[in-house]
């Protein structure tokens, strides 16, 4: 056997390779199944891990009383972590396989004759052994699978119940919490509402106060501005008047000589008319002052004796008063500047 192998290294190598490949596929297939189970268990494990974090002690006890079948799983055997070949690796492997197939074919061609019978024998043995093993493995796998599925189903149901219970409790708790929360929130809301109302009220009061203060301030400000404007207007008016007075004064100064002359002429004309109108019925010698007020047109509006020096009879006083009235209308003043509304006539008999 050993010579045969030495005489046909290539065939031996090829046979090893073929067996290796078969072995690989068997192991690979088995690993695929374990990987699927690990995935499920991992999920459960994760579920357990999640359950363990729940604070509720009842759930923890329940979990403690019903250990999961995870403990029975043949996880103690180390197994390579399934690696999903990449396409490149597959291609490379395909290429290598093709090369190996080519080399094996060449070696086979070379050792075909020597090893063909033994090989076929051994192959058939191995194949039978492999089928048997495969069948056993499949059976065992099916059994494990069924157990696992049953356990998984139970676990799922339990987990579902727990989940439901948990959900119920959680929901109840949640509801309670929500109710309390709502209540608390309602109270809080009410308090907040009250606080808000108080705050609003205070705010309103503050706003009102502020508004009143603002209004008062605005009013004071408006008053101040108004006063300022008034003062300003006064100042402007005063300045305007002063300027106007100055202008008028200048104008008067400019026309002073003319006005004086016109005034003297006008007064003289008035005196002459009153003198002509003075009828002295008696020869009394009293000196009397007569106040006279006239219109712009020269119409005598008022004439009355103010005082007399010396003895004056009523008739004499009347004569001087009537002299002024009789002279009405007096000569009209040539201009407003010349015009004098009030004149005192001093009657002096010669």
């Amino acid at each position: 056997m050993f010579r045969f192998l030495l005489r046909h290294p290539w065939a031996t190598l090829l046979a090893l390779i073929v067996h290796g490949i078969l072995l690989y596929f068997i192991i690979y297939g088995f690993m695929q199944k374990n990987t699927q189970m690990n995935d499920v268990l991992a999920e459960i494990s994760e579920a357990d891990l999640v359950q363990a974090e729940i604070v509720d002690p009842r759930v923890s006890q329940a979990l403690t009383r019903h250990p999961t079948p995870v403990e029975d799983k043949p996880l103690e055997v180390p197994k390579p972590k399934p690696v999903q070949p990449s396409e490149q690796q597959l291609a490379q492997a395909q290429a290598e396989k093709q090369e190996a197939d080519r080399q094996a074919a060449e070696q086979k061609k070379q050792a075909e004759a020597e090893a063909l019978r033994k090989q076929q024998q051994e192959a058939e043995n191995q194949k039978a052994e492999a089928i048997q093993k495969q069948q056993e493995a499949d059976l065992k796998a099916a059994e494990l699978k069924a157990q696992a599925e049953q356990a998984l189903t139970k676990e799922k149901e339990l987990a579902k119940e727990k989940e439901l219970e948990k959900q119920k409790q959680a929901e109840a708790l949640k509801k309670q919490q929500e109710a309390e929360k709502q209540k608390t929130e309602a109270i809080k809301k009410q308090q907040e509402e009250l606080k808000k109302q108080d705050a609003d009220k205070l705010k309103q009061e503050a706003d009102l106060k502020k508004k009143i203060e603002q209004e008062a301030k605005d009013k004071a400000e408006a008053e101040r501005r108004k006063n300022e404007i008034k003062e300003q207007a006064k100042r402007e008016e005063s300045i305007r008047k002063a300027m106007q007075a100055e202008r008028e004064s200048e104008a008067r100064a400019a026309n002073s000589a003319l006005v004086k002359q016109e005034s003297a002429t006008w007064i003289s004309a008035i005196g002459a008319k009153v003198r002509r109108a003075w009828i002295k019925e008696s020869s009394e010698k009293a000196i009397c002052d007569v106040y006279m007020r006239q219109s712009r047109e020269g119409e005598v509006k008022e004439a009355r004796v103010k005082s007399c020096e010396g003895e004056a009879s009523d008739a004499y006083k009347r004569s001087v008063e009537l002299a002024v009235r009789r002279a009405s209308p007096l000569p009209r003043a040539p201009s407003d500047e010349v015009f004098k509304e009030e004149i005192i006539f001093i009657f002096k008999p010669q």
Binding site: I279, K280, D289, F345, K348, P349
Partner: protein, 445 residues
């Protein structure tokens, strides 16, 4: 009481402050006002319009035209120039009262009136005086139950009221005048009649008729008696006669001259000129006792004495300076004689005004003998008449008018001069009249 007193004082203080304030304002006003001096003036009469009295037609006698009587009175005074009725517009004559019209017509005063017949020849008369310059109603008076013969007297009273209201002096229109009228009986013999008429010469009544001259009439102050000189016994005698004729008495019929009687203001004494001492001198007689007191003692002729207004002195005519001049002496000291006239060769027949301010006499001036007035205060004299044969001046009771007589081509005429000389009016007295003597006011009787 204290509180009331406090209030009173407080009010008094306030009133004082108010007065002071008003006075201050008035002073300030007076200082601001222009002052114009008026010197001179015009001495002239006042324009006045006397409109026809409403319902004048009710009075049938044309002599009783009240408006015209008033116009004539006022014109005679020389203080007024009444507007002629012919110058008034038809509207005014229809009774329209429009002061603007009168102002435009330059009439300072307006008189309006109305007559209402009350039956039985009796009338009610209203009169109003309005100052057109200040629209002041100065007089508003009513005469009730006036009989037709007294309508003229009522008109004179209206004139007096107007005169007094405007001038401030009493009127003299409602007064009477005595005078001597000379008539020719059967064309030859002269008859002297002592008559009394209204101050305007209307309504004459004869007091005495005599074929012998009558002269120098003088009124008793109460207007009830007349003293005059009568030659009825072929020599001059001083007779005192009541106006009603019930009494007539010769009070002075001394040897020689008995002339120029003049009643004292109290009616108890009579000044007169007597020559019983050989020389005409002035005496004063107590009428009741007939006791005489000699007032002048000069060898010259002293006559025509009249009383001063205060009754303490007399004015008289004396030629002690060679020519007749006016002198004054006091009753208390008759030896103290003062000469009053120095102008002209002849100044005689003095008469004093009732107010004692003026003296009127006849001066021989260029153009004849003329009535002259003299201011006794200033001493200034003024010839006021234009006629040249003037005699016997006599002051009206208010001293504003002077009646006198003069001769024109018809004989003697009595005229009235205003003292200021502005008015001259011949009285409507028929015949040859002279020696007017203006009596007191009728209401003084």
């Amino acid at each position: 009481m204290m509180q009331l007193s406090g209030i009173s004082i407080n009010r008094f203080t306030k009133a004082l402050l108010l007065c002071a304030s008003l006075w201050g304002s008035a002073q300030a006003l007076a200082q601001d006002a222009v002052r114009v001096e008026i010197t001179g003036g015009t001495e002239q009469s006042l324009p006045i319009a006397v409109t026809p009295f409403k319902n004048q037609v009710a009075v049938i006698n044309p002599d009783f035209n009240l408006a015209q009587i008033i116009r004539d009175d006022l014109a005679r005074s020389g203080s007024f120039t009444p507007m002629k009725e012919s110058e008034m517009s038809a509207a005014v004559l229809a009774g329209e009262l429009n002061l603007d019209y009168w102002r435009k017509m330059l009439q300072d005063y307006l008189v309006i009136g109305e007559i209402r017949a009350q039956g039985g020849d009796m009338y009610q008369v209203d009169m109003r005086l309005i100052n057109t310059l200040n629209n002041q109603e100065m007089v508003a008076r009513r005469w009730n139950g006036v009989s037709a013969p007294l309508l003229r007297t009522a008109a004179h009273q209206m004139s007096d009221a107007i005169y007094t209201a405007v001038t401030g002096r009493g009127g003299a229109f409602d007064s009477r005048m005595a005078y001597v009228r000379v008539e020719r009986v059967q064309g030859k013999r002269k008859m002297f009649l002592l008559e009394v008429a209204d101050s305007d010469g209307y309504a004459p009544r004869t007091i005495l008729r005599s074929y012998m001259p009558l002269m120098s009439v003088s009124w008793s102050p109460d207007g009830s008696k007349l003293a005059y000189v009568s030659f009825e016994n072929r020599r001059p005698e001083i007779i005192v006669q009541s106006l009603d004729g019930r009494s007539r008495q010769s009070v002075a019929a001394y040897e020689g001259i008995n002339s120029a009687p003049a009643w004292s203001a109290d009616g108890r004494s009579l000044l007169m000129t007597l020559s019983k001492g050989g020389n005409p001198d002035i005496y004063v007689m107590d009428i009741e006792s007939k006791r005489l007191t000699q007032l002048t003692f000069d060898a010259a002729i002293e006559t025509e004495a009249v009383w001063s207004a205060d009754g303490q002195s007399i004015f008289f005519n004396s030629d002690r300076r060679g020519q007749p001049q006016i002198f004054q002496t006091s009753l208390a000291n008759p030896r103290d004689v003062k000469r009053l006239t120095f102008e002209g060769k002849y100044n005689a027949r003095p008469v004093a005004s009732g107010d004692g301010r003026y003296l009127a006499y006849v001066r021989q001036d260029i153009g004849g003998f003329k009535v002259t007035t003299q201011d006794l205060v200033s001493g200034s004299a003024k010839v006021i008449s234009t006629t040249g044969t003037d005699e016997s001046p006599s002051f009206s009771p208010n001293g504003d008018m002077i009646a006198y007589s003069y001769n024109d081509y018809r004989g003697g005429v009595i005229a009235v001069l205003s003292r200021n000389g502005r008015a001259f009016t011949k009285l409507a007295i028929n015949g040859d009249v002279r020696d007017p003597a203006w009596g007191p006011l009728n209401n003084s009787q």
